[in-house]
């Protein structure tokens, strides 16, 4: 097929029968896809369900699709492979050295911007909220990255550990601490619970990790998905323990015992500044920033330890790994446990930021979003994850803004719904065109004589 097209291009003529056949096929399939579901919309009126037909939209979309396809046929697909493309490869090293020079500066720059953000934003509520939101997902994705990106174990139930952390804080601070130690402990609950939440989540990581040790790839992914759903269903149904779907209202965090309130014993009074509600959000922002940085540095250090190298070896080829004497059991368990621990920290933070936890926050789609961030960042790349999180979470906010354009869209279309559609599409496109993420270079941490950056595209992962 490809060679036919190339020869047609050389002759300077288009293979019209083939193009028309292809266009007709495209039209047929896209009509099948669109006719019932796009062309007819069911609308609930006062008395009954009625169908509203939307053929105009169908034909507009169809015309667009065919136009694009015709354009591709005429100008892109029939072009003979250009000699320039073949020569493009050797130009790689020059580009690599440029990114090598910039590379080390990217992360410090990001951290500096992150630390300055509340000041840059002029202590406005919205940008700080957005920053908290994005950083939470950066941290979650860094945690999941340990399991998926480094150890190569696809975990679809990561949100379960997030839930464990959140509920650990909620239950300890509202039920158990007042019961065990009295109300005096509650202002400190966040600081005491944070490590406990991490440990509990890590424990659950090991509990999940043990049975799935012998599973790999797809089966492992499905089991973790089932595990995540079980945790959520138990949270919904175990009413006595978790208060079920109604959720739990949790106390706010304090600044080392100083509550953020207007009174004399509050944070503002202690530091002699005027009380402002924004203080609390700035405080939360720095807490999540520090937690995220902790995740980053711990992961980075771990990568240089034998355990981190074992993770990456496991990702590349499990059988080779085992034959080299690496204990795959411990390797997998530590990956699960440490990944889960950071999920637990993030969950604890999430509970205090929301002031409320309910099982609704821990649905599968959350796991999918975190996974999408890791995938878009390029499995294993920590900097990539930051940009992916900003892109995805930022675009979510952008879609929210889009509701301004509501009147230009077809009636009854809510732009907010398009955001998950975009995330799903992004995952598919990413796997198809840049399966290694946008930052595709792999920096080896051990090297013989010189450090060579290998393009991720050149590394083929083992099928073990």
């Amino acid at each position: 097929m490809a060679s036919q097209k190339a020869s047609a291009a050389k002759a300077g003529a288009y293979d019209w029968p083939a193009i028309i056949k292809d266009l007709l096929g495209t039209a047929f399939v896209s009509l099948l896809i669109m006719v019932p579901i796009v062309a007819y919309k069911s609308v609930i009126t006062q008395y009954s369900l009625v169908l509203v037909s939307r053929w105009t939209e169908v034909f507009v979309i169809l015309a667009l699709l065919l136009g694009v396809r015709l354009f591709m046929h005429l100008f892109v697909w029939n072009r003979a492979p250009s000699p320039v493309a073949a020569d493009a490869k050797p130009a790689g090293p020059a580009k690599a050295s440029l990114s090598e020079r910039i590379g080390p500066w990217v992360f410090p720059l990001l951290v500096a911007v992150a630390f300055a953000l509340p000041f840059l934003a002029g202590f406005e509520r919205r940008p700080i909220d957005l920053g908290i939101y994005i950083l939470t997902y950066v941290m979650l994705a860094w945690g999941l990255n340990i399991v998926v990106g480094l150890a190569g174990l696809l975990d679809l139930g990561y949100v379960a550990f997030y839930a464990v952390g959140a509920y650990a804080y909620a239950l300890l601070s509202t039920v158990y601490f007042p019961y065990w130690f009295g109300d005096g402990m509650v202002p400190w609950a966040f600081y005491i619970t944070l490590p406990i939440a991490g440990l509990l989540a890590a424990l659950w990581g090991v509990i999940l990790g043990f049975p799935v040790l012998r599973l790999r790839g797809d089966y492992l992914a499905i089991v973790t998905l089932a595990f995540g759903e079980i945790i959520r269903l138990v949270l919904i149904n175990w009413f006595d323990f978790t208060n079920g779907p109604q959720g739990i209202t949790v106390p706010k965090a304090t600044f080392f015992g100083l509550p953020f309130k207007a009174g004399d014993d509050g944070f503002a009074a202690f530091f002699g500044i005027e009380h402002n509600r924004i203080h609390y959000y700035v405080f939360l922002y720095y807490v999540i920033l520090l937690l995220a940085l902790l995740t980053y540095f711990v992961t980075n250090r771990l990568r240089r330890l034998p355990i981190g190298r074992a993770w990456e070896a496991l990702r590349e080829d499990e059988i080779a790994c085992r034959s080299l004497g690496i204990n795959t059991t411990n390797t997998k368990l530590t990956a699960f446990a440490i990944g889960a621990m950071f999920g637990g920290f993030a969950g604890c933070f999430f509970a205090t930021r929301q002031g409320f936890v309910s099982p609704e926050s821990f649905v599968f789609i959350e796991s999918a979003i975190i996974l999408a961030i890791v995938v878009l960042g390029g499995l294993g790349s920590q900097i990539g994850i930051v940009f992916a999180a900003i892109a995805i979470m930022g675009s979510f906010e952008l879609f929210r803004e889009l509701s301004v354009f509501q009147e230009y869209l077809p009636e009854g279309t809510d732009p907010v719904h398009f955001r998950m559609l975009a995330v799903g599409l992004a995952m598919v496109l990413m796997m198809r065109f840049r399966p290694r993420g946008f930052v595709t270079r792999r920096q080896p941490t051990v090297f013989l004589k010189e450090r060579k950056a290998v393009s991720g595209d050149l590394v083929k992962e083992g099928h073990g």
Partner: protein, 311 residues
């Protein structure tokens, strides 16, 4: 006893639906070794398409039996063709370019596609559940006995008969298709050795596409039945049904067609019996637990062949 009989009937009905979906998982896994995570959502597309056609032709329970049956055949045909078009397109766009990519790529792509399908339907049809008045009504009394609590009647509804009988017919047609036709032979050949099959003149890409189309058609039929049985459908029904059907496929032995049907029945029965004798709230937990136990302790399933790991 009567209570058990009733649950048995309900369980078999539910199991038939799961079995039909499970076949799509098992065939795709058999032939290209990937979990089509979006298969549950193809089932959902089939059920929403069926709903739209039912609403479009104004089918209600009031029409004559013959009319209803004819109309249902039409609805089923439309839903199956539409779902087949979806699955074919998904395979073309999201899976085919990834053959030979790294191990997790197709699964991640499939998860993305699953989200795309759900949100696509939600954007186009709104998120609210779509209810419809019962269309196939009536039924038979099988057993009746007076108990202390009153009279207990075991019922077999016409809807249940329709589901079980049509599943049997579809399964028979499908088995003949796989066992006796050249298409089925090509599929079995590709399942065993794609390279060899290609050398012997089988168009492997085409065979894989047809596998996706067949799986989608069966799932769409299950979607229609699901929607008629429960009287409601929405954009999210594919998630749970998909996972349960996948459990069924693994339980039966992934890659094995009779296994998928058997697994479907077992999962349907477990779910029904669990709701009947234990707690309704935890029925999904039961299904998920079965999934985990099966995957961990008997990944080859009831009728499957143990997988040998090759370097």
């Amino acid at each position: 006893m009567e209570y058990f009989l009733q649950q048995l009937i309900n369980g078999i009905t539910l199991g038939s639906i799961y079995g039909l979906i499970a076949i799509g998982y098992t065939m795709v896994y058999g032939i290209i070794g990937m979990i089509n995570f979006a298969h549950g959502d193809v089932f959902m597309v089939g059920s929403v398409a069926a709903f739209l056609v039912v609403l479009g032709i104004g089918l209600t329970g009031g029409s004559g039996i013959l009319m209803i049956l004819l109309a249902l055949v039409l609805v089923a045909a439309v839903a199956m063709v539409v779902a087949a078009a979806y699955n074919w397109t998904i395979e073309r766009l999201a899976y085919k370019p990834l053959r030979g990519s790294f191990r997790l790529a197709p699964l991640i792509s499939a998860i993305g596609m699953s989200i795309v399908l759900q949100e696509f339907v939600r954007v186009n049809q709104e998120g609210r559940p779509k209810p419809v008045q019962p269309i196939v009504t009536g039924g038979y009394e099988i057993m009746r006995r007076a108990t202390e609590a009153g009279e207990f009647i075991v019922r077999l509804t016409n809807m249940q008969i329709l589901i079980i009988v049509s599943t049997l017919i579809l399964m028979a047609v499908f088995t003949i298709l796989i066992q006796k036709t050249s298409l089925g032979r090509a599929q079995r050949a590709c399942e065993q050795d794609q390279k060899m099959a290609a050398l012997l003149g089988i168009d492997v890409d085409r065979t894989i596409s047809i596998t996706f189309i067949m799986g989608a058609a069966l799932a769409a039929f299950a979607g229609l039945m699901f929607f008629l049985y429960y009287g409601v459908t929405d954009f999210f029904v594919g998630f749970l049904a998909g996972i349960k059907a996948f459990t069924a496929a693994v339980l039966g032995g992934i890659g094995s067609l009779p296994g998928a049907m058997l697994g479907g029945l077992v999962i349907g029965l477990i779910e029904t019996m669990w709701s009947a004798y234990f707690t309704v709230e935890y029925k999904d937990v039961a299904a998920f637990t079965v999934l985990i136990i099966v995957l961990i302790f008997m990944p080859q399933g009831l009728l499957g062949k143990p997988e040998v790991e090759k370097v």
